[in-house]
Symmetry: C2
Subunit: 240 residues, 2 copies
DNA sequence: CGGAATGTTGAGACTAGTCAACCATAGTGG
DNA sequence: CCACTATGGTTGACTAGTCTCAACATTCCG
């Protein structure tokens, strides 16, 4: 699965176009979901891959005693459902009104053998998901609440339509954020308040975040990890 | 990368055999490493895939302020180095005396297009690594120290040569365990002592663990997650 | 307007982290 | 063969950060 927020390789063809090319009746495969609706549940047989077309989805796992972990948020262009076992280990649900292209696995595998580009795109999706999970796990395992939320907000603003956009409208609720960051909802709430009181951001409404000091958040987010954008640039330069 | 301890699909051909078949001078590609020696470092260009032949390796990431996270331990049969970007985000090091087959990426990609079995094996390696990261992250994000160590020991004994073997010789030191579990070395040590005092295990030497009550550990490990073996059986039954 | 769902704040408890001392083991060199 | 040292591991006392439980505020919708 594309593990978290998508990071498209800008130079390769959009995976959506590849699928549209491979599946003649691609449009017919797009299914709409309502907020909270389940796409697949834990234990369901793995019959399809999924490509987000609109809105936001989340991948979650529940424990028997009610603990919950959100593993990823998927946005348009992300692929998910790339699990190797016969049964899903993650539940995929719509966060808001959203839609998915549902792509039968078998047909995908056949087309992967025919079309190296599709093969490469899916393989890259899987490996990219892994690298995203690296940062996620580093964050969960080794960061403070402040660092986690700063990382989350920095990532969101980085990947929002207008990169560097300072106004975020969070589609997910506090509980989703908490479960994504490995915190409780109260700690998330307190940390938002802390950032507001420090002047890092404004909270005009519950789900609206206006980032006032992106630099301060980025510094916090990077404290225990690579700075996001800067590192990417360094790498690109080093490899050019 | 094969994310953590390997979980071979028993029904598919060993990936090692596939590589040996594809690379005529496979033996020449095997490189030995000493304990602590680095295979690739963070930032190094991603030139090869790696297949563990002997011993144990670990994938780690450091933060600028010295925090360290171990993402996986690799054992014979595991593939690693499956990162999509041009530069490694993880450092791979030998835990003890060990050896790796170093497989040039480009040649692998070419052979993946020729041989669907190799393609499937590598793709499966990547997706399987992702599912292993799910449990790892769930554990780090939502479990207590006791649950984490119990999970770790249960996993080790599950995957040891004699499944259900109650004598484990840990190749890695306490710091590696701590950084894998997202704990401090002191907490790991205290938790070992706690388990010993409860009669769950014996610690005849530093690196030797004799599991006396595998059931108790498994129950702790499963408290917040699937029971390992049982669930696997349930799934298999459900899908038969 | 009323009720349900979502989010915030506060007080106190508790787990794991920090810092420091101590112990065990394995080499090493006199 | 025995100190001596280096490394790895354990234990203790204390602290800090996050969780828990509970009350309250806000927003959303019918």
């Amino acid at each position: 699965m594309a593990y978290a927020f998508n990071h498209h390789a800008e130079d390769s063809p959009k995976i959506g176009d590849l699928f549209a090319e491979s599946f003649p009746h691609f449009e017919a495969l797009i299914v709409p979901f309502e907020a909270g609706q389940e796409v697949v549940g834990e234990g369901d047989p793995t019959e399809s891959y999924y490509l987000v077309m609109r809105g936001m989805f989340r991948a979650v796992k529940f424990t028997r005693d009610g603990r919950r972990q959100v593993f990823a948020f998927y946005m348009p262009g992300d692929v998910c459902g790339l699990e190797p076992d016969a049964a899903h280990k993650l539940t995929i649900e719509a966060v808001d009104g959203a839609s998915m292209a549902v792509l039968p696995r078998h047909a995908c595998r056949v087309r992967m053998n025919d079309d190296p580009r599709l093969n490469a795109a899916l393989f890259e999706g899987a490996t990219r998901a892994l690298t995203l999970s690296i940062d996620h796990m580093m964050m969960i395992g080794r960061s403070s609440a402040e660092e986690r939320l700063a990382w989350f907000l920095t990532m969101l603003s980085t990947r929002s339509a207008e990169p560097g956009d300072i106004v975020l409208d969070l589609a997910m609720q506090r509980q989703d954020i908490a479960d994504y960051l490995g915190l409780t909802i109260e700690t998330v709430s307190r940390t938002f308040t802390l950032f507001r009181d420090r002047g890092f951001l404004r909270l005009p409404r519950k789900r609206r975040v206006e980032i006032v000091r992106p630099d301060a958040l980025a510094r916090l987010a990077a404290a225990d990890r690579d700075a996001r954008a800067p590192d990417r640039v360094e790498y690109a330069a080093a490899l050019a």
